[in-house]
Symmetry: C2
Subunit: 143 residues, 2 copies
């Protein structure tokens, strides 16, 4: 059982959407690299703050998404920040391995350069290692 | 007139919401600091890539929001990145002055520490300097 009352102040500061969600940016501690952006609901916020392990809300699966549950690529929470109008969160995390389901450190591996989208980051871990041979890795929410 | 055809590849890679929007994270070049998160529509993407000055879509005003138009706190685009599933953008920017309408460098100036929300960044520029004496600074979309 998590004690939601301990988090009343931060929950009140967050402006969830009509669907009860808020976008959360994950930034690597130390390097400052942006790893990914995903969504949280109220329960995901409470679980993340309670356990220190980042938990999102998977919009595709409609359930809590404990980052790393399948892939082992856990995010440990180092700092939890709320923006000026409370409609976006910034999570400073320690990332185990890679954050992206493609096996790259960051999900933001494509850049618009010289009039085309260029891949600027290499695959570090084969997705089949992260998800097993039968997983096609199309749904990063399973990470 | 902007030539949208030049941006066909990147526009096709972006998965806009049903409202035609996509969240865009602004990160400071060099320091890696996350400055803000805002939304773009198709026209904002085209204008930003065409001009090299960041332009968002203001959901509150329902119009293009050329960052710095009122406040002078312009963001110059240094790199434009798209995430793995195309539903979030990362803008690497050179920020003139502060990004937040409160006069702080970053909008993410509140952190959850020891069971309470703590202000971790000081005001660098008085909002009245950014928006004039009659502006209350409640709508950062005017920045």
């Amino acid at each position: 059982m998590t004690d939601a009352t301990a988090f009343e102040e931060v929950l009140a500061a967050i402006r969830f959407t009509a669907d009860g969600l808020v976008p959360a940016i994950a930034q690597a501690e130390g390097t400052g690299e942006i790893l990914m952006m995903a969504w949280m609901n109220r329960d995901a916020v409470i679980e993340t703050l309670s356990t220190g392990r980042v938990c999102y809300w998977s919009r595709s699966r409609g359930g809590l998404w404990r980052k790393g549950e399948t892939s082992g690529q856990v995010q440990r929470l180092k700092d939890f920040r709320v923006d000026c109008d409370g409609d976006t969160l910034l999570l400073i995390v320690e990332q185990d391995g890679v954050a992206c389901h493609t096996g790259r450190r960051s999900c933001f591996y494509r850049a618009w350069r010289d009039g085309k989208l260029e891949v600027i980051q290499a695959v570090e871990t084969d997705p089949s290692v992260l998800y097993g041979q039968n997983h096609h890795g199309h749904d990063h929410n399973h990470g």
